[in-house]
């Protein structure tokens, strides 16, 4: 087990109220020492007794991040039995994220799901009767880690990271083949080529890492397209979400013939919400154009809200919509929970697939909106929703892993510049490969040996 210092946001990541950031491990106090300044400049964190609360500011270098209260707990008298610090800040996603990042840069690592509780248990803090609960937490963590890993995605970010990994693996396999079979494969001039490749990879990684920091996604919004058959309740949903009668809602199917666009701030994330024409086969020329545009919009969406009218049977128009959903991030909304249900969640699952989260709502009665909000937020902070079709990192663990990978590549570059022998490169190359694997939820296994054998002809 790793007993390094871990950090996580202990409160819900939202724009409201107070946010709590918890740090646990040997370096908790020294990290705090670096980023926290008392109002009274003479005071030192290390001089403060356990179980005390202090008021001051958190800084990233010279930049003031927030006014905070910190709570100090020295091990073994803390939940994890390790030195623990809690930072209560003013909340707000940007601020919390900046503090989190600063703590990580000072040497902490983002905690795995359930890791605080796990440590509490392994360190003997929790007794046996509570152990079952611990297992539940870990199990939930197990599931969440799987869900939040990008391997579930087919998005642009995952593809980029796969490309980084493949490139690194290929180069490593080439190096290893040459080391294994020096009489067949020569490394003359290879360092220079590798250096070029790595420079370009590191630059690409930098772009991805920076995408986390610029906060554009929070300013510009996630492009969210509402999709469904005519009269499924799309426009009602839009109206409920934005709280005004912007879209024309009638009983007549096919009322929305063009795209309506709204800005919406939902649980700290801004959405660019687009209502579309209902998808159906139609003879009406104007409506046909609307349907075509809806498809186009869906094609470029970051997130699709698929509204299903559960009071009507599914038909071939739903089949048409399913095609659009492929490879997209989707939340299925089972609408009209106020009416008699003809289509069950299971029936929808069978037709559309079970991979998408489903929420039962009634746009008319404004029910289920909180669930929808939570779901969108969860997807976003797990990094499952990408932004504007660009590669944007939204999960801090992904960002940390990318940074580690990039650092490893720069170390290879150092080794090359310093004239180290080629076998030294592979140490850091494989570190980079592993860091990226962490994002995808894939570990090393036999990848390297497979790659060597499949790509390079070696052997007697």
């Amino acid at each position: 087990m790793r007993y390094d210092t871990i950090v996580a946001v202990a409160s819900a990541m939202s724009s409201a109220g107070i946010g709590i950031i918890r740090i646990s491990g040997n370096d908790s106090f020294s990290i705090l020492e670096h980023i926290f300044r008392f109002k009274d400049e003479k005071k030192r964190i290390s001089d403060q007794p356990s179980y005390t609360i202090h008021y001051g500011n958190v800084y990233d270098g010279e930049e003031l991040l927030d006014e905070v209260i910190v709570l100090l707990m020295r091990g073994p008298h803390s939940y994890t039995t390790e030195d623990t610090v809690e930072i209560d800040c003013h909340g707000g996603i940007l601020v919390m994220r900046r503090i989190l990042e600063t703590v990580i840069r000072e040497g902490a690592r983002p905690a795995d799901p359930g890791e605080f509780t796990k440590r509490a248990f392994l360190n003997g803090r929790i007794d046996l009767s509570q152990a079952e609960a611990v297992m539940d937490v870990i199990q939930a963590g197990n599931r969440m880690a799987l869900e939040s890993s990008l391997s579930q995605l087919k998005g642009a970010v995952a593809n980029k990271i796969r490309f980084f990994r493949e490139t690194i693996l290929y180069e490593t396999a080439f190096l290893e083949s040459a080391l294994d079979d020096p009489e067949h494969i020569s490394l003359d001039g290879y360092s220079k080529r590798l250096s070029e490749t790595l420079k370009s990879l590191a630059a690409d990684m930098k772009v991805l890492i920076d995408s986390f920091e610029n906060g554009r996604i929070i300013k510009e919004g996630i492009k969210t397209v509402i999709l469904g058959k005519p009269n499924a309740g799309k426009s009602s949903l839009l109206n409920v979400l934005i709280g005004e009668d912007r879209a024309i809602v009638t009983e007549i199917a096919g009322t929305t013939r063009d795209i309506l666009e709204e800005e919406l701030y939902l649980g700290g994330i801004s959405l660019k919400l687009l209502d579309t024409a209902g998808i159906r086969k139609t003879q009406d020329l104007v409506e046909q154009i609307g349907v075509g545009r809806a498809k186009e919009q869906a094609e470029n969406a970051d997130l699709i809200l698929y509204v299903v009218d559960t009071s009507r049977e599914m038909d071939e128009d739903d089949v048409e919509i399913c095609k659009i959903l492929e490879n997209k991030k989707v939340i299925i909304l089972l609408n009209k929970s106020d009416l008699k249900t003809v289509v069950t969640a299971d029936a929808v699952g069978q037709r559309v697939g079970y991979q998408y989260p489903m929420i039962s709502i009634s746009a008319k009665e404004k029910e289920g909106m909180k669930l929808l909000e939570d779901q969108i937020r969860e997807l976003f902070f797990q990094g499952a929703i990408s932004f504007n079709h660009e590669s944007v990192i939204t999960n801090i663990r992904h960002k940390t892993s990318l940074e580690e990978a990039r650092k490893s590549l720069l170390m290879v570059e150092d080794s090359i510049q310093n004239g180290m022998p080629e076998d030294f490169y592979t140490i850091d190359l494989m570190d980079a490969y592993n860091s990226l694997g962490y994002i995808l939820g894939e570990n090393l296994g036999e990848d390297l040996v497979q790659e060597i054998f499949s790509k390079f002809c070696t052997g007697k």
Partner: protein
């Protein structure tokens, strides 16, 4: 009438190949009465494939075997005819020694050692049955019905079990080199509940030296200064005249011949069912798989000093005889080649080694050990390494001593055995330096420092050799400390030396240690600036140089090893039931049930077991430990 062997016999070794030899020698040298069986006394330590010992990563294994008190290193030092340190332009971790052996001398020399070792008897007979009772091995029965009782049996049957040699439409039920196969033991093993696999490997043709035109080939000479394998060999005594190897290439014509006859290859016609090694592809495999390459290297290597046979490295094949003739004679320099022995593929029975503990003892039969190609590995060196460990552990079991398991941070042998008993293996397993994650520390130059203490504790290393090692270690530490504190000024002598070595001049003072870190400099080169350098034991200077030069990397690797060791220390109880762990994913549970890892560390290396599963397992084990603790009190 049934014969029962009446003399004292504690360990039986089945097979006299490279694994069997090391196993039998280890047992006998530890004072255990040992009987070694072979189907033919003339095939002891036979090298039926390539005529060399060592090579990348395999050279490491030989050094480790030697450091633990095995015989392979000494034997090749006695019988090599060419020697070369590979990868010398790369880092020290991948330097690998490789020697061409005089095959028959190698075999003869090993036989002499075996025959003159106390406690060791050699018997020519085929073992057909393993005798056991209640999960405890009792001995063996031979083809004639003779019974030998023993406390432990070590299986080192190599490629002989139900062996079949194949080329083209021809299939012979023989072992390598036309030797008698062992056709009965498999059934006995199956009856004991042991799961068998069928693997395949191959060897190229042997050709008559007189029919080769060397003028069309590049000469490959040995090193000018020969380095021995064994830490005990005096390098002065082994400097000798060496024999050359020769390099030539296949060409498009060769490839056409192969492509046009693929339908006659038993591999492609489905006649061969065994799984072949990807790292040692036949020439037909290479041509098919790497179709864009217009040539492949071919090494013509001598098989010995007193034979005209030469080995055609790089062109193993199972194509029919007539195609082989056409194919070989299309290669530059082989136009008039005369084939002495055909190339062939060989199929044989081996076990799925996941049935073994990391001690190389079968999980389900106490006292039954195994090593070598029988365990699904390939190569003489891999075999010898396992044989040595199986021998040591069989002997220690009889002596009531703790079993020896080398871990991945200690030795290539550790990596080899851990991979075999942990990972799914679909082809004969070959050692590679890339398999060793801590290879910077597992170098061939420091095998003695890593392992000789263990060999001494086991009882295979003499007091004298052990004392030498301790003194060597002491000198290394002292000298590293000293050179880090030797200050070098910016005097004329210093700048001149730097200039001569193409190194940037010093603008301010530096220590010797700092200068050594420069890639173009090293410990020996800086001797003129170091007047107080003491006289050091053999090998000390090399260790000082490497440890200082690569200190940063070495320290990083040491940290990784600390993490690794923590996981290895968390043991999983032998009869642990994974069914009771509530939150394990089904795939992980099935894999863990199947492999039954001995530690959390080993569990984490099983494919299909995720870090989250390991987390669950750690928490559950801790829960159990505490429950038991409460119950006890």
């Amino acid at each position: 009438m049934k014969f029962i062997y009446k003399e004292d016999c504690q360990v039986i070794v089945v097979g006299a190949g490279h694994a069997g030899c090391e196993a039998a020698l280890a047992c006998a040298r530890l004072g255990i009465k040992t009987v070694m069986f072979t189907v033919s006394i003339d095939s002891i330590a036979l090298m039926p494939c390539n005529p060399n010992i060592g090579g990348t990563s395999k050279g490491h294994l030989v050094r480790e075997i030697d450091a633990l008190g095995g015989e392979m290193g000494k034997n090749i030092d006695r019988t090599f005819i060419q020697s070369k340190m590979l990868n010398i332009s790369k880092g020290p971790a991948v330097h690998s020694l490789r020697a061409q052996a005089d095959k028959s001398e190698y075999s003869r020399s090993m036989r002499r050692v075996l025959e003159n070792t106390d406690n060791l008897s050699i018997v020519q007979a085929e073992v057909t049955e393993i005798l056991s009772e209640n999960g405890q091995v009792l001995g063996v029965r031979t083809y004639s019905g003779a019974v030998y009782f023993a406390k432990a049996v070590i299986l080192c049957t190599g490629t002989y079990l139900k062996a079949r040699c194949i080329y083209g439409e021809v299939s012979n039920a023989t072992g390598p080199n036309g030797l008698q196969a062992a056709n009965y033991l498999t059934d006995s093993l199956k009856a004991l509940g042991i799961e068998m696999l069928r693997f395949k490997t191959g060897t190229p043709a042997r050709i008559d030296k007189r029919s080769v035109d060397f003028s069309k080939m590049e000469e490959q000479k040995g090193d000018e200064r020969i380095e021995p394998f064994s830490f005990t060999t005096d390098s002065e005594e082994i400097q000798k005249e060496q024999v050359s190897c020769w390099l030539t290439y296949t060409n498009e014509k060769t490839h056409d011949i192969i492509r046009n006859n693929l339908d006659r290859s038993p591999l492609y016609s489905g006649m061969i069912e065994g799984t072949g090694p990807r790292y040692c592809p036949s020439i037909e495999d290479k041509v098919v798989k790497f179709a864009d390459k217009d040539r492949h290297q071919v090494f013509i290597e001598p098989e010995g000093l007193y034979t005209n046979e030469m080995y055609v490295g790089g062109m193993s094949s199972s194509l029919p005889e007539d195609v082989q003739h056409k194919m070989y004679s299309s290669v530059a320099g082989l136009e008039n080649v005369r084939i002495v022995r055909n190339a062939y593929a060989i199929e044989y029975d081996c076990i799925d080694p996941r049935q073994l503990y990391p001690t190389l003892e079968f999980r389900n039969i106490s006292g039954l050990f195994s090593g070598g190609q029988f365990n699904g590995s390939s190569g003489y060196e891999e075999a010898a390494a396992q044989g040595l460990l199986a021998g040591i552990n069989a002997a220690r079991k009889i002596l009531g001593k703790e079993q020896i398991v080398l871990d991945r941070s200690q030795a290539y042998i550790g990596v080899l055995i851990d991979d075999l008993v942990t990972k799914e293996n679909k082809e004969p397993y070959r050692m590679m330096t890339s398999r060793a994650e801590y290879r910077l520390l597992l170098r061939q130059d420091n095998a003695d420092i890593r392992l000789t203490k263990i060999g001494y504790d086991v009882g295979l290393i003499s007091e004298e050799r052990y004392q030498f090692l301790l003194e060597k270690e002491r000198q290394i530490q002292e000298e590293i400390h000293r050179i880090k504190h030797v200050n070098i000024g910016t005097g004329e002598k210093v700048q001149e030396l730097l200039k001569a070595a193409d190194s940037t001049p010093l603008t301010s003072g530096s220590t010797l240690g700092e200068l050594i870190r420069r890639p173009e400099l090293n410990y020996d080169l800086l001797a003129p600036l170091d007047p107080n350098r003491p006289v050091l034991l053999k090998g000390v200077a090399e260790q000082v140089n490497i440890n200082v030069k690569y200190e940063g990397y070495i320290n990083r690797q040491k940290k990784q090893i600390e993490q690794f060791k923590k996981m290895e220390k968390k043991k999983i109880p032998e009869n642990f039931s994974y069914k009771e762990v509530p939150s394990l994913r089904i795939e992980a549970r099935q894999k863990l049930e199947l492999y039954r890892p001995v530690s959390i560390g080993q569990a984490s290396r099983i494919s299909g077991v995720s870090p989250a599963d390991i987390s669950v397992l750690v928490v559950y084990l801790e829960q159990q430990r505490r429950k038991q603790h409460i119950e006890r009190n």
